[in-house]
Amino acid sequence: MKSDKKRIGVFVCHCGINIAGTVNIPEVVKRLKEQADVIEVIDHQYCCSDPGQNLIKETIKEKKLDSVVVACCSPTLHEPTFRKTVSSVGINPYNCEIANIREQCSWVTDDKEKATDKATKIIKTIIKKVEHDEPLTPITIPVTRKALVIGAGVAGIQTALDIATAGYPVILLDKNPSIGGHMSQLSETFPTLDCSQCILTPKMVEAKQHPNITLMTYSEIESISGYLGNFKVKVRQKAKYVDWDKCTGCDVCVDKCPKKTPDEFNHGLTQRKAIYKMFPQAVPNRVVIDAPNCLYLEKGACRLCEKHCPFGAIKFDDQDQITELEVGALVMATGYELLDKQMLGSYGFGKLKNVVDGLQFERILSASGPFMGEVKRPSDGKIPEKVVFVQCAGSRDPENAMAYCSKICCMYTAKQAILYKHRVHHGEPIIFYIDVRTGGKGFEEFYKRATDEGVLYIRGKVSKIFEKGDKVIVWGADTLTGKKIEVEADLVVLSTAMKPAATKEFAQLLKLTQDEYGWFTEAHPKLRPVETLAGGFFLAGACQGPKDIPEAVAQSSGAASKVIGLFTSDTLEHLPVIAGVNEDMCSGCGICIDVCPYKARELVTTEDGKKRTVKVIEVLCEGCGACSAACPVGAAQQKNFKDQQIQDMVKGGLE
């Protein structure tokens, strides 16, 4: 081994007068020459300029330097520049470091003498660091160019279509037998009032027929392992008791099935059979048997579906199937649910038949809904003459329910009131609201349309809803006049708060973080809104927070483009400033394993089987260095931030 003494060159930038105006650069150069163990110290007007960079390159060649310190502005500005410069003449870029003597020195003091002192010390700390810097190479990770999209509502479908169209295979998974999500339940959509099914169904069919998309419906995630680019996911496809290869979706079995149970798709407003198709336009157009309700599977008698199926598709001995998938990226598109009934006690929700939530009213309005698009009320099928809409039912309510604004309710309530008025011309829609929030294209105009078409807006929150005879009495207030208001309504629609559909257990399974309400947290609320802090996981749609359809679709395309970006190469580079393990020193205590936020460290037995030690899964390590600080014996060392380096830097700053 040659002498391991580094040949360091220091370049001090004047930055015009930005640095030189406060820092006495000739003095800094003089002191460094005298005090620091370096080969060369040179100053230049603008190191980042072409002549400046050339000077660095020439000096490296001439003085046979192997390490470089540039004392200039913040590393956030020109660290990449100078690292590129030095690597063009054969120096490892990680052996070039920046001493920030502008933002953190010359700009923050007027005292020239002290500024000169401080600049010298800052440069010395960096020289000390460079002395022990190792040449590093970015880590290369292979990428499985296949994506898994969890949740097949409009967000999941859009994400899958975008990725698939870019040429990469996608698995689109949903827990329900059909794709489509909540959007398939909606009647018309704001602010254009086009029919939800009409715009969604073609997308559903496209997803089904796309050669790059594999649908896995009626499926749930069982477990997940691996890391960015290389995930292994176990999926449980629930027993359907119907052979989907034989089933044609003809519905003969559905007609014959004698067992009825509340229909989830219509939110309990109607009944479905034990063998059922989620809705007529279901994709795939297939039926499943809901085992707990099936007379044969539960009680051993019936088999009518089997008897009548023209294709012999009924398969009572069907089992759950476990499939293991290998994917490079996952997109969460798990969406939302509406708030639980229990949380709205004073509104009688869940107790009073004629108090429904927004999605139930969507079904009532829907042409394929329980009343075929005629507006009737659930209790007696009467046409409601007066419908009260209650906004912020559980939203903006930190004391009793959700603190946040659910964002979509102002618009969908206006829409529902307009649609009601279209169906029942003489009907009276009344909306109780706190604020009408119309931030969106065409939204304010749509609100105006609602008032134009005869919707009465009352500014005040409702306190109590109860039944009196066959009427539903609503106690509200008009805060603008200060009057308490009592309305005798026929039907009440609560704009209940949105809440995340993904459970805490599900998030823990995927090791994703959620906010206090359970919405998935993005990597950065403004600049990285579709990424998560876990590499390889992306967010689409309302699983991240309340969103309307255009927003959910836009974010889905954003998530898809992130996945596509990841898939453009079959490998990816990872920052090499990660932690390592000195096996000889490691005692195998495992302290570092608990400290690591990325699960990048694991206990292993050494190859000779003699001792326990820790292995770093390099691709998972993000280089925070927490393990290095925690290791009691100094075996864990972050590359280029080793104990020795930081201690030397401290010395350099105090000399």
Binding site: R396, D397, E399, N400, S463, T479, K484
Partner: protein, 132 residues
């Protein structure tokens, strides 16, 4: 024109201190008024009273009849989405008036027959809330 702030910031501090409520927490949804059993007779109604206090119109509320109509039933505080308990604010406002030795109720005002009929509890509660 409504003249804002009667430079009675001390009173605001007193109200918040005595009630334990933060006036600015109220976002005027009106749920308190909507559920209040005596709001029909109140002037101003609970949400308006809080609004007036937010605007600094302390005297207007302190001199109002509304604050004496609160029956301490606590529906407002129970349902308020922002955790503002108007019942406690009303209690604080009455206390401020009463501590200034301005009694609201005198025995002479009460019907004699009623005194012999009604339960003790009614009088104890009323004297607690209405007298200095």
């Amino acid at each position: 024109m409504l003249e804002l702030i009667e430079s009675l910031q001390e009173i605001k501090k007193d109200i918040e201190l005595l009630s334990g409520q933060t006036l600015s927490d109220c976002y005027q949804c009106g749920e308190c008024t909507a559920g209040c059993p005596t709001a029909f007779a109140m002037e101003p109604v609970p949400s308006q009273a809080i609004r007036l206090l937010q605007l600094g119109k302390f005297n207007e509320v302190l001199n109002s009849t509304g604050i004496w109509l609160c029956a301490s039933c606590n529906v407002c505080g129970e349902r308020c989405p922002r955790g503002v308990d108007y019942g406690k604010i009303a209690d604080a406002l009455r206390t401020i008036v009463l501590r200034n030795k301005l009694t609201h109720l005198t025995l002479e005002k009460i019907d004699k027959q009623f005194i012999s009929d009604a339960p003790q509890q009614a009088f104890i509660a009323a004297f607690r809330k209405y007298t200095t």
